[in-house]
């Protein structure tokens, strides 16, 4: 049996005059694949093309043998957590997850069980019967993730799924992706910061201005990127305490406290050690609202990588 794959052949998409993506040629095998590129580079466009929310002006797309123009069959094997964080008026988190399952033909009972399982997996059971409109940004992100995994899809597409998640939930989410990938499924995620996804990805696709600029196994270049110090922005309540805890670690080169004392900027030489340290701090009971990787010079890194792959 052949390996199931996702194929983009000569795919171009224009929004009127604006280029979405241009002449994309991709063959994606099961496993975790990350689309990495700055804002506006075409990541969402690629994901929308893959799931049939938009249609290409040129070229063809096949997802495990199915066309995105056939949502009836494609969406049975595909879950997509979009970047759009709106839900139909009045929908609760539970409705949001279960509706697609009911439409797929499950009975109410089956759909409820599956939805509940997904919500449990994501840790969203408490807020499940509240309206999505009342959720925080992070909760909306998680409920979208729950909806995407609820149908037990073979293809999981996630647009910026780690953006703004706190470290504990981030670790759980990553574990979930790895679990999916280990079962021979496709997990496709996007990010505008490489450091957020490179460690967990089997493959990284770099996209810039609507074009695929580099593609391949990330392991080869990982060690080299490692030496680039990376910056993180942390939002938390007792920022000065967290700052002093972090400063004791030898991989940390710099810590800057924000003026409002609710955030800090950290520079580290070792991202794995950093995320381990942060998880420890969070487990000690310090509330950490969000962690965001900020690379002062993403472009430089791109040039470096693109140069390295040629």
């Amino acid at each position: 049996m052949t390996v199931p794959e996702i194929l983009f052949h000569d795919v171009s998409k224009f929004y009127g005059e604006v280029l979405g993506v241009n002449k994309v040629e991709l063959r994606i095998l099961p496993g975790i694949t990350s689309l990495v590129g700055p804002n506006g580079s075409g990541k969402t466009t690629l994901m929308n093309l893959l799931t049939g929310l938009i249609h290409p002006d040129r070229g063809t797309i096949m997802v495990r043998g199915l066309s995105p123009r056939d949502p009836e069959r494609l969406m049975r094997i595909t879950g997509y957590a979009t970047q759009y964080d709106t839900a139909p008026r009045g929908t609760t988190g539970f409705d949001f997850v279960s509706t697609g399952l009911i439409v797929a033909g499950n009975t109410k009972k089956q759909a409820a069980d599956l939805a509940w399982k997904a919500l449990e997996h994501i840790g969203m059971t408490e807020a499940a019967h509240r309206k999505v409109a009342s959720y925080s940004k992070g909760m909306r992100q998680r409920v979208r993730l729950a909806q995407a995994i609820a149908g037990d899809p073979d293809v999981l597409v996630l647009d910026e799924p780690l953006n703004g998640l706190d470290p504990l939930i981030r670790a759980e989410t990553v574990a979930l992706f790895q679990d999916f990938a280990a079962q021979g499924r496709h997990v496709i995620l996007s990010s505008h910061v490489l450091q957020e996804v490179d460690i967990i990805s089997d493959r990284v696709i770099f996209i810039s201005n609507g074009m695929i600029v580099a593609e391949g196994e990330i392991r080869g270049v990982r060690e080299e990127i490692h030496e680039h110090p990376s910056q993180y922005m942390i939002r938390c309540r007792d920022a000065s305490r967290v700052a002093s805890l972090l400063f004791g670690q030898d991989h940390i080169t710099e810590v800057k406290l924000h003026d409002d004392r609710l955030g800090l900027l950290v520079m580290t030489r070792d991202r794995v050690a950093f995320s381990r340290a942060l998880t420890g701090i969070a487990l000690d009971g310090h509330t950490i609202e969000s962690v965001m990787a900020v690379d002062a010079n993403v472009d430089a890194l791109y040039k470096y990588l693109i140069g390295g792959s040629e």
Partner: protein
């Protein structure tokens, strides 16, 4: 994945949406449009009930009032019919002496107007006039309900089926469900038709009930056993056809035009001048069919302008069968055209 499954899926989607349609606070104005006739006839009924309680005990025989002729003098009238129940005198701008008298004959009020002591004008009005109220309902139904309430109600409900969700940025939610776009369209259309039908048939039934309510039970029962039930049924059918016809048109407009308001105004104009168009053009209108089901013709009399008379009495009313068949064809055609558009529809939130 067969036809049976898709029909079931259509129904599932319609049911999921229906729960939401009724919760829409945004569409509360549709309820107001639909309930307006009921409110008006309720107010009219209450007014009549109050008037009935206040009927004067002094009754003048109707034969006597009948015999008074225009041109009679004030003192002659008072001598014949006695002191009036109400009596008002005043002066006109031209220094004419005016006087109005009112008598009651047990069933009707008689109004007598004098100028310079001479009876100019005499007319009477029944306290409770069943025939008149039924005609008033017929007029309300044709002029207000079919032409305005259902028209704008359906415009609000159907033109926004996809546009509203595009603006709310929630359409992707439905596009990501494992259903054909045609099934999604059919489900949405079905939900909206059911919602519009419920609101506007309930509105028509309530209005009808409020129209009947103040009248004598015996009169109402007689009417009900004679034509009443079939009239009510015809009103319901006309409202239903109106909802389906306008619903289909506005569904298509919502998908075809960036701003469906302007084409809708054209349609409003077209529908309302329809009666004066050549017969074959008349057939291309929702009102033409819906109106043909209205059971009570609105009375036309010669004092009405010719145009108005033409508008409300179509030259060549279609049979009920043609009307219903026409609507089915229209709906099928619209669903076919719109399903092609919906298949190509893209999530395009950035530009809106």
């Amino acid at each position: 994945m067969n036809a049976v499954f898709r029909i079931r899926q259509t129904w599932i989607i319609a049911r999921l949406l229906l729960r939401r349609v009724f919760l829409f606070r945004r569409s509360s104005w549709v309820y107001l449009l639909a309930m307006f006739p009921a409110v008006v006839f309720l107010a009219h009924g209450i007014q009549m009930k109050i008037q009935n309680q206040w009927t004067p005990s002094r009754v003048t025989p109707s034969a006597l009032l009948e015999s008074i002729r225009e041109g009679a003098r004030e003192d002659e009238v008072i001598e014949k019919a006695g002191i009036p129940i109400k009596d008002r005198s005043f002066q006109s701008k031209q220094k004419k002496q005016l006087r109005n008298m009112e008598y009651f004959d047990g069933e009707r009020w008689w109004f007598l107007s004098f100028r310079d002591g001479i009876l100019q004008y005499k007319h009477n009005q029944k306290l409770v006039d069943f025939t008149k109220d039924r005609l008033a309902f017929a007029g309300m139904f044709q002029f207000y309900y079919l032409r305005l309430a259902i028209f704008f109600g359906c415009l609000g409900i159907f033109a926004n089926l996809f546009r509203g969700e595009m603006l709310d940025k929630t359409l992707h939610f439905w596009f990501l469900a494992p259903a054909r776009r045609e099934v999604l369209l059919a489900g949405k259309y079905l939900a909206s038709v059911i919602a519009a039908l419920l609101v506007f048939t309930v509105g028509a039934v309530l209005g009808f009930a409020m129209m009947l309510w103040p009248h004598h039970a015996a009169q109402v029962t007689a009417y009900w056993q004679d034509q009443g039930l079939s009239h009510l049924f015809s009103y319901i059918s006309a409202a239903a056809l109106g909802c389906m016809g306008y619903g289909s048109i506005f569904l298509a407009f919502g998908l075809l035009f960036r701003n469906p308001i302007f084409p809708s105004i054209v349609i409003l104009f077209w529908e309302n001048i329809n009666g004066v168009l050549p017969t074959w053009l008349q057939k291309l209108s929702v009102l033409h069919y819906a109106q043909s089901l209205c059971p009570v013709p609105v009375p036309t009399n010669d004092s009405m302008p010719v145009l108005i008379r033409l508008l409300i009495s179509p030259a060549d009313p279609p049979s009920t069968f043609t009307a219903i068949f026409g609507f089915i064809i229209l709906t099928a055609l619209v669903l076919w055209v719109t399903s092609r558009i919906v298949r190509r529809l893209e999530i395009n939130y950035n530009t809106e």
